[in-house]
Structures are given as C-alpha cells and as structure tokens.
Symmetry: C2
Subunit: 234 residues, 2 copies
DNA sequence: AGCTCGTTAACTGTCAACAATCCGCGATGC
DNA sequence: GCATCGCGGATTGTTGACAGTTAACGAGCT
C-alpha cells in the first residue's frame, strides 16, 4: 500500500469524545441557549473525570458554542440571526472559496467517489425525510473538500464556524428550504469539481452558500445568552 | 455609582495567565513556528501544575497558534502569507465592519476619550520608535471598539483572528509601513467615529485594514509546521 | 422594612500521582 | 544487509482529592 489513501482515523482521546458528545447535544438542540453545563454532571454521566470535561468546555468556548464565567460556570450560547447572516455566513464564504480553490487540483478520483457517495446518501436521506442524516452528509461533503485543501488555518476556522451555523439552522430556522434542493446543489458542486474548472466551481459554491444565508426573514431573532446571575431553583 | 463605567477587570485565573504568557511568547516571536511546547517544561518554569497549562494549550490550539497531535505533543504553527491575505484579513474586515457598525451608536464620551488617549500614546510611541507599544495600542484600539459592539460571536472570532495576524506581521513582515502612518490612520478612524456617520466610518476602516493586507510581495512565504515525527537530539 | 454581614452549599480552579501511548534504538531472525 | 520485534525513556492523557470563589440565605442591626 504505497499511495496513502486510508481515511486516517480521527484522534479519539477522551477529551475529543467528550467534546463531540457535548457539541452534538448543543448543535442537535438537546442543550439550548441559556442552559447551564455543570462539569460534575457531565463527568459523572459520561463516567470520566472532570479533567477531560474541562478541556472539552474550553474547546467549545473557543468554538463559540458556550461561554464560561470564572468560578460561576458554563452555559450554552445562542446566535443571533444577524450575526449568522452578517458574520458567520460571509466568513464561511471566504473560507470555502479559498478551500475549494486549493483543493481543486488536489482532489483524487477516490475523493470524488467519496463525494459522490455522500451525494447519493443525501438523495436517499431526502427521499425518506431523514433530515439529520441529510445535514450530516452535507457537513461531511464540505469537511472533505476543506480537509483536502491542506490549509491548516482554513480548516481550523472552519471547525469553529460550522457548528454555529448548523446550530442556528437547526434551532432557529429548521425549514429553510426544501430538503430536495440540498442533494441537487451538492450534485452540481460535485459536477463542477469533476470539471476541474475553478471559475465554475466558485460560482456554483457561491450560489450554494448564499442560498443558505437567505432564511425566512420573519423568523424570530435570537439574542439570548447574557451573563447569568443567580441560578434556577429545583 | 449608578452608571457602571468601571473598566471591569479581566478574569485572572491561572489558566488565563498561562495562556497570555504563551501567546505573547508566540506573537512576540520568542517561540517560533516548529518549536515544540512541552507541558512539563512550561508548568515547571511557571511554577504551576500541568492542568492549567493543558487548558491554555487547548485554547491556543483553537486560536490557531499551535497544533497538537495526540500523545505526541504541541508545536507552534506558522501562517502562510497566502492564508493571511486570503482568509485572515478578509475575515477581519468582515468582523470589524460589523463591529464598528454596531458599536457606533453605543460609544460613550468616555470610550471616545479612551480611544483618543490610545491614539496619543501611539503618536508618542511612533516618535521614539517603540514598535512594541505601537502594536499594543493598535490592538487595544480595535479591541475596545469590538468590545463595545456587544456582539459575542464577533468578539470571540476576533480574539482568534487577531493574534495570528499580529504574529504574521511581527514575524514575517516586520516593516510593512512607516510607523507614522499607524497613529494617523487611527486618528482618522477616531474622527470618523466622533462624527457618528456610519458610511464615513466604514470607508475609513476599509482603507485602514486594506493598507495592512498589502504587504511587501517579495517577503518569503512561510508554510512551515507539518506533523512532526521524531525529535531533535540535544 | 431595608441594609449589612457571616454562613453555607454548590460549584469551579488547582494540584500531584498514576496510566497509556509514542518514538527511537538495539536485538533478533532471515 | 535488511526488515521485524520488543524494550525503555520521554511525554501526554486521566484521575481523584483538595483549595478557593461565588451567590443565595438568613440573622442581626438601624
């Protein structure tokens, strides 16, 4: 096996798994903005000590999903629609333009096949209305391309932007578009990548991301998450 | 004392101080890309245990200043000029546009005075050639405005972008412009803020930040910092 | 009543010891 | 010679205990 084409397994330390569990709880909406996260609770529920939990919380804090105040604890942070539209989506656009441009000449046939199977999975998920899997494959598509760009800062910032965008659409704008548009758009992206034409790729990408920024303007703004004083009684 | 105008002292836990020490060592160039950071060394030098050091490293990792590989350690990460120009500066522009727009109606007379004194300090620093203080006041100027915007995600992303930009200019493009332009540009920004006219503020800001993205194109690209195998013998 | 000040429970912050993993190097076998 | 295996030092990952801080509660004073 000379050409290293193995998917290079993700690092799985305890702290990474704790981070993933908490992040998916937040992104999935089981932890809502304003909810407190108590280290002891998490560590006892997950049967680990508080060390890894603390490190996970530090990471989530840097990802903008939680805030913590010294000696007072950590709570889940909300995102205002304004910040999503005016900051997160424009940043995402900057990142992905850069990433797709750099990944384009580096994508192997195996990569394109992997993307194709993700698109196929999206089609079937849309067909049976499995929105969770649809979102999951959506993220993986972009993750893969961005990973192939081999630009460390681009990847790092992407990892901090993407969960917030996803949390926002999951929590506050659940029905932003027909679930059938998503697979089609990614199919177009994939076709553009196969064509290896940078201009086409970037134009398609731009259209794709802008689609997602135009959410229902009647949706309520969400600007919760100020410093908490006092705590809820049981 | 009804109107809360106290500068609200920064949280000073051990982990915050360790983070600050390491970050300033990286941004200041005393730790260079590729250098290893060993938890035990840091903890013994700073006379603290490894816990806070680990949390500091997690935070710096999220700020993109270091990378760590499981069970193998942490090392300082470099930034390529391409990533600075194509990602970090555009993101900075997005953030500051948003922040200045939101801060504009919220800035108090005291805030404007504080900005004025920063500008004054920049003038005197430029006069005696104190580039460190100049850069320090530069950052504080933008920090203050962004803090006043009261947009949590904007602030959070700023904190992760700014150190990288600063590290880049400090390490790789030390003489990007005359030290006398900096105070003047901030003077203009301050005047625009005093005028309370959004369009003027944004135009001035844009010019200011773009100035900084146009660095000497002959400067060497810096793309170090891949995964390390093996370790240097003493 | 309203304010101030101890008291206290619930947390977070910090530490030092222990466990797990990686890397280099030399022994071993072919 | 050269690949493979396994040992050992260095360093990171994890744990449980202890110390410090916060905010709510209630007694005492005015």
């Amino acid at each position: 096996m000379k050409p290293a084409v193995l998917p290079e397994l993700a690092p799985s330390s305890l702290r990474h798994r704790v981070t993933d569990v908490l992040r998916s709880a937040i992104v999935g909406g089981r932890l809502r903005p304003g909810d407190r996260i108590v280290e002891e609770d998490v560590s006892s529920q997950l049967k680990v000590s508080r060390g890894p939990v603390r490190e996970a919380l530090r990471q989530l804090e840097q990802e903008g999903l939680v805030v913590s105040y010294p000696y007072r604890g950590t709570e889940v942070l909300g995102v205002s629609q304004e910040e999503v539209e005016d900051i997160l989506v424009p940043i995402r656009l900057t990142l992905e333009r850069f990433a797709f441009r750099h990944a384009l000449p580096l994508l192997t046939a195996a990569d394109l096949d992997a993307l194709a199977s993700l698109v196929a999975s999206m089609h079937s998920a849309a067909a049976i209305g499995d929105l969770d899997r649809l979102a999951e494959q959506d993220v993986r598509f972009h993750d893969l391309v961005i990973a192939r760009s081999r630009q460390p800062h681009c990847q790092q910032i992407w990892r901090t932007i993407e969960p917030r965008v996803r949390a926002h659409f999951r929590r506050d704008a659940p029905a932003h578009s027909s679930p059938f548009e998503l697979p089609d758009e990614h199919q177009q992206l994939l076709d553009a990548l196969r064509g290896r034409d940078e201009a086409t790729v970037l134009a398609t990408l731009e259209g794709h991301i802008r689609t997602y920024s135009s959410v229902d303007p009647a949706a309520p703004r969400d600007d919760r998450g100020g410093p908490r004083r006092g705590q809820a009684k049981p």
